[in-house]
């Protein structure tokens, strides 16, 4: 694989090369007081000079004292916004003379370049790949969006206040799943990017960018940045034997404790980059000639998420919180061969009451075996 050092003044060529290759570039940008993922066209669209201050139930943007392009962690969006859109039309039904004709809906044909994908997000995409592509049926919308994505990953230069990718073994260094990875190096003397390719496509694109050859000192610089980020994690989680721990503590009093705080607002499932639950929606035209069926995001925190003949199975917040956490951290291993959590910290940051999944696990671990 190849590498190159590209100066800040030349980073615009990355945008040009991607656009020229036909990609719609999705990347971080500031909007409504947060860093979200949206279409970006030039370096100026990025959150230049911004960082984020995150904690349980708290997210603020703050100005850095430099003009780094990637000096922040992650916001409420994840790449599932593009790969697994919040609402997708699945098919139309045309009714005439009583007979029904089922017509699959158009899948948008857009080729995305994802610019600024963090290591935890690469892990999350790999996890959703297993869910939507690797467990029997193939999800058409996901497959179509995913197959053409050009991924420009970023090695994090700062750790977020709620990050714990080190505990989950998912970061902060990007190791695979990208076409290119960049590490931003910024200090008083220089502002440049160490770019490394991960695929042939990445190599070809890299070849088109102006820059100098990377030297060992540049790679050492990257190591240093990654190591520093790894040492600044806002949270940590002991993942040892976590599947058995949660399976054996389904009646632990801590579930009742967290249920007193949890609002079942579903924020955590909305922002989690691996949550994949959905529901269907039906609509009919005014003349009853056409019906459509759509898929939209759903959350296990809703009352009617799980039921038998219309009677909810998990009728209390406690039961639904337990479902979410044991699914994410334990059942996922049995279902998909890994944890469902990548340690991005979003659920902690975006929980209105600051429930911290790492603290909940620690509390159960400390008093495991206790029953209500």
């Amino acid at each position: 694989m190849s590498s190159k050092i590209v100066d800040r003044s030349d980073i615009g060529t990355l945008f040009e090369a991607l656009a020229h290759a036909g990609y719609q570039i999705m990347g971080p940008t500031v909007r409504d007081g947060a860093i979200v993922y949206d279409q970006v066209e030039a370096a100026d669209d990025l959150p230049i000079g911004w960082t984020d201050i995150q904690d349980g139930g708290s997210y603020r943007l703050k100005r850095r004292d430099d003009d780094a392009l990637f000096g922040y962690a992650v916001g409420q969006h994840s790449w599932k916004e593009m790969l697994f859109p919040p609402r997708t039309e699945l098919f139309r039904v045309e009714r005439s003379d009583g007979s029904l004709r089922f017509v699959p809906s158009q899948v948008p044909e857009v080729s995305y370049a994802f610019l600024g994908v963090r290591a935890c997000e690469l892990a999350a995409m790999a996890i959703q790949d297993r869910v939507f592509l690797g467990s029997g049926e193939v999800d058409r919308t996901y497959e179509t969006a995913r197959r053409d994505v050009f991924t420009v990953a970023v090695n994090c230069m700062v750790a977020g206040g709620t990050c714990f990718c080190v505990s989950m073994g998912t970061g902060p260094r990007c190791t695979d799943g990208y076409d290119m990875v960049l590490t931003e190096v910024i200090d008083d003397d220089r502002h440049e990017f160490v770019l490394e390719s991960g695929t042939r496509a990445g190599e070809d694109l890299l070849a088109r960018l102006p820059g100098r050859a990377a030297a060992q000192t540049d790679f050492d610089e990257v190591d240093g940045i990654v190591a520093r980020t790894a040492s600044q994690m806002g949270r940590s989680m002991d993942n040892t034997g976590i599947k058995e721990l949660l399976y054996e503590n389904l009646e632990h009093p801590r579930w009742e404790d967290v249920a007193q705080r949890c609002l079942a607002c579903t924020n955590c499932t909305l922002v989690c980059p691996t949550c994949f639950c959905s529901t269907t929606e039906d609509a009919v035209s005014l003349d009853s000639a056409i019906a459509t069926r759509s898929r939209r995001w759903d959350s296990c925190f809703t009352l009617d998420f799980s039921g038998v003949h219309g009677v909810p199975v998990r009728s209390t917040t406690k039961e639904r919180y337990r479902q979410w956490m044991t699914h994410k951290l334990a059942s996922w291993y049995d279902q998909f061969g890994s944890s469902g959590c990548v340690g991005c910290g979003r659920c902690i940051t975006w929980c209105p009451v600051g429930i911290d999944i790492t603290a909940e696990v620690a509390a159960i671990r400390a008093t495991q075996g206790a029953i209500t």
Binding site: V308, H309, G310, V311
Partner: protein, 151 residues
């Protein structure tokens, strides 16, 4: 009826010792009952109890203006009647034979008298009947849950 046949007629009687079974045998007689025959009625003194050999007996209760409700049916091997052992020794239900049946009848009055005099016998009989009461209570509770009703 031979002791062996008596022993084989019901899981409950099978638990009695030979001596106890001999006593029961001496207090028993076989009857044949035609469909719709009433074995005993609500409120009557519980002086005879039965074990079904063949056929079926329905326990039912009447209600003014309504058809009688069957609360339980009993078939081969089942004990018909529990109130014969427990005071006030009066039947709570009516027992109506629904199919042509063969039953063994037992003199409950004499069994009660013998139990009063013989503690060991009483213990055996009460254990057997208590188990049956528990089993019927369990089954009745399951039906009380009305599992098959509209959710």
């Amino acid at each position: 009826m031979s002791l062996q046949s008596l022993r084989e007629s019901s899981e409950l009687l099978a638990r009695l010792t030979n001596t106890e079974l001999e006593l029961f045998e001496s207090l028993s007689w076989e009857i044949e009952a035609k469909a719709d025959e009433i074995l005993f009625d609500e409120g009557e003194p519980a002086d005879t109890f039965y074990v079904v050999i063949e056929g079926r007996v329905a326990l039912e209760i009447t209600s003014p203006g309504k058809s009688p409700m069957i609360i339980q049916t009993l078939g081969p091997g089942d004990l018909v009647g529990l109130s014969w052992l427990l005071p006030p020794h009066r039947w709570n239900w009516r027992a109506r034979v629904t199919d042509d049946s063969r039953l063994i009848a037992f003199d409950a009055v004499e069994v009660r008298r013998q139990c009063n005099e013989n503690r060991d016998l009483a213990l055996e009989v009460y254990q057997v009947v208590a188990d049956e009461v528990a089993s019927r209570l369990h089954s009745t509770r399951i039906r009380l849950l009305d599992l098959y009703s509209r959710p």
